[in-house]
Symmetry: C2
Subunit: 183 residues, 2 copies
Amino acid sequence: MAPLPEFNLAEATAILTRTPATMDTFLRGLPDTWVRRNEGNNTWSAFDIIGHLIFGERTDWMPRARTILEHGEARPFDPFDRFAQFKESQGKSLDQLLDEFARLRKENLAALDALKLQPEDLSRRGTHPALGVVTLSELLATWAAHDLTHLHQLSRVMAHQYRDSVGPWSAYLGVLHCAGHGA
Amino acid sequence: MAPLPEFNLAEATAILTRTPATMDTFLRGLPDTWVRRNEGNNTWSAFDIIGHLIFGERTDWMPRARTILEHGEARPFDPFDRFAQFKESQGKSLDQLLDEFARLRKENLAALDALKLQPEDLSRRGTHPALGVVTLSELLATWAAHDLTHLHQLSRVMAHQYRDSVGPWSAYLGVLHCAGHGA
């Protein structure tokens, strides 16, 4: 098996740049069956997932990058609230959330670009409140992989709605056999 | 837990209509790290997945719908070749595949619309070569869920590339704990 690629900032931002438009293209105008239903008690709908991505843009990725650059390991990151979107998204439409996610991501990528990170910056270290020492490159790689984990979740939540409708084909549809892995 | 929704043709086509543009928005122009790498021996890259979706448009969904409408249970579907894309996609670029997928899907949805299916048509039965008796609505639901299973696979294949780069955050990223479930 080929070794995994090393982190590359341009490759990470290629994902980060595309995610809001991808979510928009897929979700805008879809019936509520696809965007408002979840997988059962205490699980997330597509609507909840976009709210979570918004909250990450506000409080997680760039604030933590700045904490690393300004304080190094001395100051642990503020903990992230994984459930904030249930309050923050109340009364908003999916279209509003998609617009907000796109705007915040664009602002954050402009702010990232303005940092003009050098290769040696990527190994700078910070302190995660639960995981311990992490590097700036790990944070930025996780930002991109976090988009992917929620695209993975989104496709599973949506497919779940057709679990019965597909009849015996459920045996062949891998997504219907995904246990969720906590996201 | 709320009961799962019943199959609804307009809801299924809402997914089917959006998938090619979603794949295009996400994948076009991405570095090869994301589109040409797979999860190891005998697994699929994003490029392979789009090739597979193209082959489904050519030989699976609408041909099988027509078999049900014209022959009912009497004539089993032709088996589907899950590996055809490795030959069919050779020498093509990802951009070409994305264009081809969009064109074929558009043609197939126009052909589906031209059938002017009535509610009673959805319960018409056909014979799957391995699964036995299936209905037209199950076939159409599976067409949509099949898009979702490959979006699920795509996000996992891409996230896999950053399995090492995310460092200790791998514990929190559900997509990195997905075993694949055969697709």
